[in-house]
């Protein structure tokens, strides 16, 4: 009797488990299939992209699309542009936002709450709203078609507030005893930050670094507004310019450029996904 019940229980739980896996596999499709299709389709000849019935894998594998990625546009240079801009933005954000986040959490100074409220309010102003005065200012400074606006805006502009916020949340829960002990040993306040608080803020650094890198590397609107010559393009803008380049469709080339943009980031993400996801979750933008 007892073992029957236990067996029924186990059977039911096995059915539940199988149902759950089946559900998760079906739910995975819209998340996974587009990326897989993009990747494999960049190995298809252009005339196979819209072939019916649709197929994930190429019937005929070719590297033609990839070859044209580099001949139709200065793609390597565009890749370099995106990489160096994202590197500057990431490193600067990690440091500058940490200083601001630490001060907002731990140092009392005049107008602190007013300044923090202002930062939060700025999050509600989309880039599109303020782009006109910024565009005219960039023009007046002769910085149109340069990378300056794409570097300065994400580091200092309203989109950087999220980073400050993540750091502030982190430092609010940072144990005061560490700091007090250091202060007793005669370490200055700035020294406490640089030598103790910041080195111990690794989850926040990871979260801010990842978000700043993705924000910069995937930036599109600003690139569209400010960049004019293909040599200066960043990747997002470059991908959109493979259509009708010679008056013909370069579908597989465009997908190849998209794959080359996405796959390296995905590989890094897969390797470091634990730190990646947990870093974002732990320092969470939660209360």
């Amino acid at each position: 009797m007892r073992s029957d019940a236990a067996r029924a229980d186990r059977n039911r739980s096995r059915v539940t488990t199988i149902t759950l896996y089946a559900l998760l596999v079906v739910l995975s499709l819209p998340f996974l299939y587009p990326t897989l299709w993009m990747f494999f389709s960049s190995f298809k000849p252009a005339n196979e992209i819209f072939v019916q019935p649709p197929a994930l894998l190429p019937r005929e594998w070719t590297l033609d699309g990839f070859a044209q990625v580099f001949t139709a546009q200065p793609f390597l240079q565009q890749y370099g542009n995106s990489m160096y801009i994202a590197a500057i933005v990431t490193v600067s954000s990690i440091l500058l936002s940490a200083m601001a986040g630490y001060a907002f959490a731990r140092i009392r100074f005049p107008l602190r709450n007013a300044a923090f409220t202002l930062m939060l309010a700025a999050m509600m102003v989309p880039t599109e709203v303020t782009i006109i005065p910024i565009f005219t200012a960039v023009n007046a400074m002769g910085l149109n078609d340069t990378h300056w606006p794409l570097i300065i805006l994400p580091i200092f502009g309203p989109t950087s507030v999220v980073s400050v916020f993540i750091y502030r949340q982190h430092f609010l829960s940072f144990p005061k005893e560490y700091e007090e002990a250091a202060r007793l040993d005669g370490v200055s306040r700035a020294g406490v930050f640089f030598r103790i608080a910041l080195p111990l803020a690794k989850p926040a650094i990871a979260a801010v670094g990842i978000m700043a890198f993705l924000r910069s590397f995937n930036m599109y609107f600003e690139a569209l507004i400010f960049l004019r010559t293909p040599e200066n393009f960043t990747l997002g803008l470059a991908i959109t310019r493979y259509q009708d380049f010679y008056g013909e469709q370069m579908w597989n080339t465009q997908l190849g450029a998209a794959s080359l943009t996405v796959v390296p980031i995905l590989v890094v993400f897969l390797i470091a996904q634990k730190q990646f996801v947990q870093g974002l979750a732990q320092t969470g933008i939660k209360g």
Binding site: Y21, S28, F31, P34, T35, M38, F50, Q52, P54, M99, A103, A105, R106, I107, R108, F109, P110, R112, N113, A115, F116, M119, A122, M124, P126, E128, V129, T130, I132, P133, I134, F135, T136, I152, L153, F156, P158, S160, V161, L172, A190, L214, Y220, F221, L235, G236, I239, T240, W251, L255, A258, T261, V262, I265, F269, L280, G284, I285, K286, G287
Partner: protein, 296 residues
């Protein structure tokens, strides 16, 4: 908001110095340009001729009478509502499904999160191929004997297609935040409820939801703001069409400013866009006392 008071001390200047780069940055690149936008919105300004003329509220009168603007507001609100509801429902459902010890659960979490790291341009372009009349989605439907619509060119499906593209791109981020929130719900409370005879749905509604309410509020606000700022998928997939059904405010602003070169009129659109974001954020924030018991 601040739960802990900072230690008093003679470090005021250090604090000011530490926040200065970011606070000045937000003022110079956010607040000041926004004040300029308000000023521009009272002017007729076509950058090609370079002339700027004060016209008072005329741009706003023109907006009210402009059918493209009404269509744009409707597109933005529908898009935002669709993204908000779908995103939160999917994010919470996935988080609940993944919040258990099971083989391979990390793999599924990775899959659901992966579009977050994919470039929005690559993601949009790929969906453009899949949603094309002879693309993969209609091809799959054809196998089932269904004649799929021209998703991005049909007024009845274009906006919802954009909602889907946007939701699958970003929902992984919210899912991760909800997972973190769920993991902070003590197992004992759910077990106690189970012993008291509460079913899974009752337990979810009466225990889980109240405990993750602060996360619902925050992700709700951030998702709303993000959806009202949408640009790349619209520009790359529908160009605002068909017939302005997907001409959301940021895209309408972009076209007015940089295609038809009307900076004053575009600035008025920008002011309205900000007002909508402000109003919806305040709405969610002020209703929090009714359903968020934990102070955020």
């Amino acid at each position: 908001m601040s739960s802990r008071r900072p230690r008093p001390g003679g470090n005021g200047w250090l604090g000011v110095a530490f926040v200065a780069p970011q606070v000045l940055g937000v003022i110079v690149l956010g607040v000041v340009p926004f004040i300029f936008v308000i000023w521009y919105s009272f002017n007729e300004w076509r950058p090609l001729t370079g002339e700027m003329e004060f016209i008072g509220l005329d741009n706003y009168y023109r907006l009210v009478a402009d059918p493209t603007f009404s269509a744009s507001i409707i597109a933005s609100l529908l898009f935002s509502a669709g993204v908000l509801v779908l995103n939160l429902v999917i994010a919470i459902s996935l988080a609940v499904l993944l919040n258990r010890r099971m083989k391979g659960i990390t793999g599924f979490r990775t899959i659901f999160f992966s579009p977050v790291v994919v470039s929005v341009v690559a993601w949009s372009v790929t969906w453009g191929f899949l949603l094309a009349p002879d693309g993969g989605i209609n091809g799959a439907l054809a196998i089932l004997g269904i004649d799929g619509p021209n998703w991005l060119a049909d007024p009845s499906t274009a906006l919802i297609s954009l909602v889907v593209v946007q939701v699958f791109k970003g929902v992984g981020m919210n899912m991760v935040l909800f997972l973190a929130a769920l993991q902070s719900v003590p197992e004992e409370i759910r077990e106690a409820a189970h012993l008291d005879g509460a079913g899974p749905w009752r337990s979810f509604r009466s225990i889980t939801v109240p405990m993750i309410a602060p996360t619902i509020l925050l992700t709700g606000i951030l998702t709303t703001i993000g959806s009202l700022e949408v640009f790349a998928p619209v520009q790359l997939l529908t160009g605002g069409g068909p017939g302005d059904t997907t001409n959301v405010l940021p895209f309408f602003l972009y076209r007015t400013a940089f295609i038809s070169q009307q900076f004053g009129y575009a600035s008025a659109i920008g002011v309205v866009l900000f007002a909508i974001i402000l109003a919806l954020t305040m709405l969610q924030w002020t209703t929090r006392r009714r359903w968020v018991h934990d102070e955020v």
